[in-house]
C-alpha cells in the first residue's frame, strides 16, 4: 500500500484505472499536467461545480471508487470544450463517460432520465415517443396532421441486438 487518502482512508483502485485507460485508446489521461484550461472553460463549473481537472487527477492517481457514486459525473454538459483545448489531449469528457459506464456497471445511482430513455429505446427504438405539440395559436398538432411521414419503428431483431450490445463491458 503506497498511498492512502487520509480524509477518507481510501486506497487507489489501480485495476479500475487500468480499465478506464484501456477504454480511452489514445486520449491521454496520464499526460494531464493540471494546466486548469479545461476547468477554466468548463460550461458546468459555475452552476454545478464540475472540475474536469480534479476528475482527471483522481482517476490518474487511482482514486476511482468515489466517482461512480457521486453526482458530479452526471453534471457534464458534453460541450466538448475540454477535449478541443486540452494541450495534452487528456480529454476529461471521455474519462467522465467511462466513469458513467462504470457507475452503471456497479449499479450506482444513475439519473432517472437516462434509465427512462434507455428503456424507451429498448421498447420502441426511440428515446421518447412522438408527441402532440401546441402551436403559438394554442392549436394541438401531431405528425399526421402536419403531413409528416409515419415513423418506421425498428424490426423485432433490434431489441435483442441492443440488449446483447448492452451486455458488453
Amino acid at each position: 500500500m503506497s498511498i492512502v487518502d487520509l480524509m477518507s482512508m481510501t486506497k487507489p483502485n489501480l485495476e479500475a484505472r487500468k480499465k478506464i485507460l484501456a477504454k480511452l485508446k489514445g486520449k491521454e489521461l496520464a499526460n494531464c499536467f493540471q494546466c486548469m484550461k479545461c476547468t477554466s472553460g468548463c460550461t458546468a463549473l459555475k452552476l454545478l461545480e464540475l472540475k474536469p481537472n480534479e476528475i482527471v487527477k483522481l482517476v490518474n492517481l487511482g482514486f476511482v471508487d468515489e466517482l461512480p457514486n457521486s453526482d458530479i459525473i452526471w453534471t457534464c454538459v458534453t460541450c466538448l470544450k475540454c477535449v478541443e483545448r486540452c494541450p495534452q489531449k487528456a480529454s476529461p469528457y471521455h474519462i467522465i463517460m467511462a466513469l458513467r459506464n462504470l457507475a452503471v456497471e456497479k449499479e450506482a445511482k444513475v439519473p432517472e432520465g437516462f434509465l427512462k430513455a434507455v428503456s424507451q429505446i429498448l421498447e420502441t427504438g426511440l428515446a421518447e415517443p412522438p408527441q402532440k405539440i401546441v402551436t403559438r395559436k394554442m392549436e394541438t398538432v401531431d405528425r399526421e396532421c402536419l403531413n409528416l411521414p409515419k415513423i418506421r419503428f425498428p424490426k423485432e431483431s433490434f431489441q435483442a441486438a441492443l440488449m446483447k450490445a448492452m451486455e458488453e463491458k
Binding site: 452552476l47 454538459v77 458534453t78 480529454s91 458513467r100 427504438g125 426511440l126 433490434f158 450490445a165
Partner: protein, 291 residues
C-alpha cells in the same frame, strides 16, 4: 441527388419544424431525401450507460444506410452527427470493437459500410450545395435583418474527429445566413452551450444555461437567433419561457431553424416551414423580414 437521411429521436418526437423545413427546402436544390428502413436512437443517451452499445447503434444506422445503396447520409441533429461520427472513427481505429460490432450486425443480416460520408445540414448546404446556388435561389432576401447564429457544440468539436466547421471560429452558418441577405453578427457568447445535455439529470441547470445565452442575445437587439440542431431549438425555443423564469428575465427572442429562414428566403409558405410551431415569437422575426 439522392441523400439518405437519419432524423433521430428529438426531431421525430417533437421538433417537427426542422423536418418540415428540411423536406421543403432541400428539393429546391435537387436534393432528394431518402429515409432509412427503420428509425431508432443514434445512441447518444446510451453512451453514458454503455459506450459499446452506443457505437453499435450508430453503426447500425450506417449499416441501414448501406441498404439504400447511397454513400451520403444527412444527419440534421448535432448530437446524432457527433455520435455517428465518433462511432465511425472508433470502428476504423479499434479492430476489437469493430469485430464485435460487425458480428452483431451480421446476426441481423446487416452489413457495415465504412465509406459513408456523414453530412450535417450546415455543411450539406454550405459545401455540397454551395453559397452561390443558395444566393441565386433567394426570392425574398431577408433585408439585412440581424441574426445571432448559434451553431452548437457537438458539430464543431472536437477538431481531431473532423467536424463540420472550425471549432474556434466557425463561419459556415454565418455565411449561409448572409447568403439569404441577412446579417449574422459576432457576439461574445456565440459559442456558449445550450445546456440540453443536462435535461436528463439537471434540468434546472440546463434551463439556466439556455436562459443566460438568451438573455445575452436579447441584449443584442437582433431580429432573432438561428440554430440548426433540434436540442438547441428545444432549449432556446420550446423552453424559452421556463429558461427565462430560471434566470429571472423576461425573454422574448425569436428563435428559428436556419432552414426555416432559408425557406422564407426561397418564398416558401410559412406554415409549410412549421413557423407556427415555434414557441418563441417567430412571427416578429417574420414581420421584420416581410416589413
Amino acid at each position: 441527388m439522392k441523400v439518405a437521411v437519419f432524423w433521430g429521436c428529438c426531431i421525430q418526437a417533437n421538433q417537427y419544424a426542422y423536418e418540415m423545413s428540411l423536406r421543403e427546402t432541400l428539393p429546391k436544390f435537387d436534393i432528394d431525401l431518402i429515409d432509412l428502413r427503420e428509425t431508432f436512437c443514434c445512441g447518444d443517451p446510451v453512451k453514458s450507460m454503455n459506450e459499446f452499445a452506443a457505437t453499435f447503434l450508430a453503426a447500425r444506422i450506417l449499416a441501414l444506410t448501406n441498404l439504400t445503396g447511397l454513400n451520403n447520409l444527412l444527419v440534421p441533429c448535432n448530437r446524432c452527427h457527433f455520435t455517428i461520427s465518433e462511432a465511425q472513427d472508433t470502428i476504423k481505429k479499434d479492430p476489437k470493437i469493430a469485430k464485435k460490432v460487425l458480428e452483431l450486425l451480421k446476426e441481423e443480416g446487416l452489413e457495415y459500410n465504412p465509406n459513408i460520408k456523414i453530412w450535417h445540414t450546415i455543411d450539406l448546404l454550405h459545401d455540397l450545395v454551395g453559397l452561390e446556388k443558395i444566393k441565386n435561389a433567394v426570392k425574398n432576401p431577408l433585408k439585412g435583418v440581424k441574426i445571432a447564429s448559434h451553431v452548437g457544440c457537438q458539430i464543431i468539436r472536437y477538431s481531431d474527429l473532423g467536424r463540420v466547421d472550425n471549432a474556434e471560429n466557425p463561419k459556415k452558418l454565418d455565411e449561409l445566413i448572409a447568403a439569404l441577405g441577412a446579417e449574422s453578427i459576432e457576439y461574445p457568447e456565440k459559442l456558449d452551450c445550450c445546456g440540453a445535455a443536462l435535461n436528463r439529470s439537471h434540468p434546472d441547470s440546463a434551463l439556466s444555461l439556455a436562459g443566460s445565452k438568451l438573455k445575452a442575445v436579447q441584449n443584442l437587439n437582433v431580429g432573432g437567433m438561428a440554430v440548426s440542431c433540434p436540442d438547441c431549438q428545444l432549449m432556446f425555443d420550446a423552453k424559452q419561457k421556463d429558461a427565462g423564469t430560471t434566470v429571472g428575465a423576461k425573454l422574448n427572442v425569436p428563435v428559428v431553424y436556419y432552414t426555416q429562414l432559408l425557406g422564407l428566403a426561397l418564398g416558401i409558405d410559412e406554415k409549410k416551414l412549421g413557423l407556427h410551431l415555434n414557441q418563441s415569437p417567430a412571427e416578429e422575426l417574420v414581420a421584420r423580414i416581410h416589413g
